[in-house]
């Protein structure tokens, strides 16, 4: 099952990831959405089981319902279909900081065993091997949203024992927890192989569910630490025809609009 081509099951591992992530968003929740994978999953949720979800993007577009996926966080599509548009200082102060956000939906270049996220540098800060875009809105989303959903593709480069730079905190460098934060941090991490959740006592991410056809050995192999596996390991339901249809329509509309 390749990431870009539908396999024997009739869907790709990326589609499985997006569909699974979308299911974690509940109808009526207020969700602060990151661009890319989270935006795709959040809009899929809105177009399927969660029509009343309130999507907020850091460009200040609140309650937006785009017809196509935005390429950037500030596409006109987001403003045209929003309940209201506010300035950037306001979106972070009146909306996020004031505690009006239920779910922060984020991705990252690296995540570590305690759910800390890196979007700043690979390597040392002063002379990095790779300079990444940086923090954006993520540090405050990670700290202040009531909970955080993370999604990223599984690989040893991405799932590291310790991130090179904690841009946005999960449970801290040693898994010490969330003292001083208003939100409870990353409650779930969805990848193209399965689902991880923090252990209730140690805060270490452990494998709690596999996508259909995936094997534990493969997930452990793509994880940079000795990944623990929940004794009650689940297997996720494959995408329904409706979920796949809506997702593919959304992506086809988007592709057509962006290639113009």
């Amino acid at each position: 099952m390749g990431k870009g081509r539908a396999g024997a099951n009739g869907y790709t591992s990326d589609e499985m990831m997006t569909v699974t992530a979308s299911r974690f968003l509940r109808n009526g929740q207020v969700c602060f959405v990151g661009i890319g994978l989270p935006s795709e999953a959040a809009n899929l949720a809105r177009l399927t089981h969660a029509p009343e979800v309130v999507l907020i993007y850091e460009s200040g577009t609140i309650g937006t319902a785009p017809n196509i996926l935005p390429l950037s966080i500030g596409d006109g599509e987001l403003a045209e279909h929003a309940d209201l548009v506010v300035g950037v200082p306001e979106v972070f102060s009146y909306w996020l900081q004031a505690g009006r956000v239920d779910v922060g939906f984020l991705t990252a270049a690296q995540i570590d065993r305690f759910g800390n996220l890196n979007t700043t540098v690979i390597g040392g800060y002063q002379s990095p091997e790779v300079r990444l875009p940086g923090a954006g809105g993520a540090p405050e989303i990670a700290s202040l949203a009531r909970e955080v959903i993370v999604m990223l593709r599984h690989s040893k480069r991405a799932f590291v024992p310790e991130v090179d730079f904690i841009t946005s905190v999960g449970f801290g460098p040693n898994g010490e927890g969330r003292a001083g934060h208003h939100g409870k941090g990353p409650t779930v991490v969805i990848t193209d192989l399965g689902v991880l959740e923090p252990h209730p006592e140690t805060n270490e991410l452990m494998l709690v569910a596999l996508h259909p056809g995936m094997e534990v050995a493969r997930v452990r192999d793509e994880t940079g630490w000795d990944l623990r596996v929940d004794p009650d390991l689940r297997v996720n339901q494959p995408p329904t025809a409706d979920e796949l249809g809506v997702l593919r329509d959304l992506k086809a509309r988007t592709e057509q609009a962006h290639s113009g």
Partner: protein, 290 residues
């Protein structure tokens, strides 16, 4: 009072070498025309301020106009890296770039403090982030509740440059859609340059709420239609997403980038010239192929 003038004269008069310059715009209304004019006039040693440095800062950094960058997210939105920015940070090419980075919430609080005439801004922010070790942020306690909060210094640019949809003939500026942090950046700055799509008798919309900056806060206005390309001006132009994708290829290679700047900025007299050059499909091909 607000001066109206050509972009060339406005940039020549109001943007000195060594200035701190905030060309703001949150994906929408990015002042590309002004940035190109800064490159054409070969301004040097600039400190560039911007929450979301995108292609225009990639261009300014790539030609060596900038000494320092203060920012919170530096990427090609929806596409990937800013390759000229990365080359400067990773390889000091074409020259070293000093960076200071924040979170969006922190940068926004810095501009709000600057616009308010306060020495610092306060937020619930940076908590648990390694940014604290590398940037200008301090922890303070609320004098009333004892809550631990982050303090960030006010940001007061020498020059703010923004692009708006409209100005009226007195110089009141109207902009709408995604408004970003432009108002705060302008009110925090000593000098304010505005490029506009259109100069009108009366600003569109519902009366005085449409004015984002009153004329007496604006130093100079220059009319530059489509002056935000490849970004967009809601109601006038749409975002050229194809250009953002092409930029990845143009900016990845030092020589292709240099040829692009030569052909599309330096050899053009003004932004109108750039826009016509874009219509010539063969020009881009020649630039990319060498």
């Amino acid at each position: 009072m607000t001066e109206f003038g050509s972009l060339r004269d406005v940039i020549a008069d109001l943007v000195p070498d060594g200035a701190s310059v905030a060309m703001e715009g949150f994906t929408h209304l990015i002042p590309f025309a002004a940035g190109h004019e800064v490159i054409r006039q070969d301004k040097r040693d600039l400190t560039l301020l911007r929450m979301t440095p995108d292609l225009i800062y990639d261009q300014l950094i790539g030609v060596g106009c900038a000494r320092r960058l203060v920012f919170s997210w530096g990427g090609n939105p929806g596409v990937g890296s800013l390759h000229r920015f990365r080359d400067a940070v990773e390889n000091e090419y074409p020259s070293p770039l000093d960076i200071e980075e924040h979170s969006h919430a922190g940068m926004a609080a810095r501009y709000v403090a600057g616009a308010s005439g306060l020495p610092f801004g306060i937020l619930r922010g940076y908590r648990g982030s390694d940014l604290v070790k590398h940037t200008d942020v301090a922890q303070i306690s609320c004098p009333f509740t004892g809550e631990e909060l982050a303090a960030v210094p006010a940001l007061n640019p020498d020059v703010a440059v923004i692009h708006a949809q409209q100005a009226d003939r007195r110089g009141n500026v109207g902009l709408w859609g995604i408004t970003g942090v432009q108002r705060e950046a302008a009110l925090a700055a000593s000098t304010v340059i505005v490029t506009v799509e259109e100069i009108v008798d009366e600003l569109a919309g519902n009366g005085p709420n449409q004015a984002v900056l009153p004329h007496w806060t604006v130093s100079a206005i220059s009319q530059v239609p489509k002056g935000s390309h490849p970004s967009y001006s809601m109601g006038y132009t749409t975002r050229d997403n194809r250009f953002y994708r092409e930029w990845d290829r143009i900016s990845r290679d030092r020589e292709v980038f240099a040829r692009w700047v030569e052909a599309f900025i330096l050899e053009q007299k003004d932004f109108e010239g750039y826009l016509s050059a874009l219509d010539d499909e063969t020009l881009l091909r020649r630039v990319v192929d060498g």
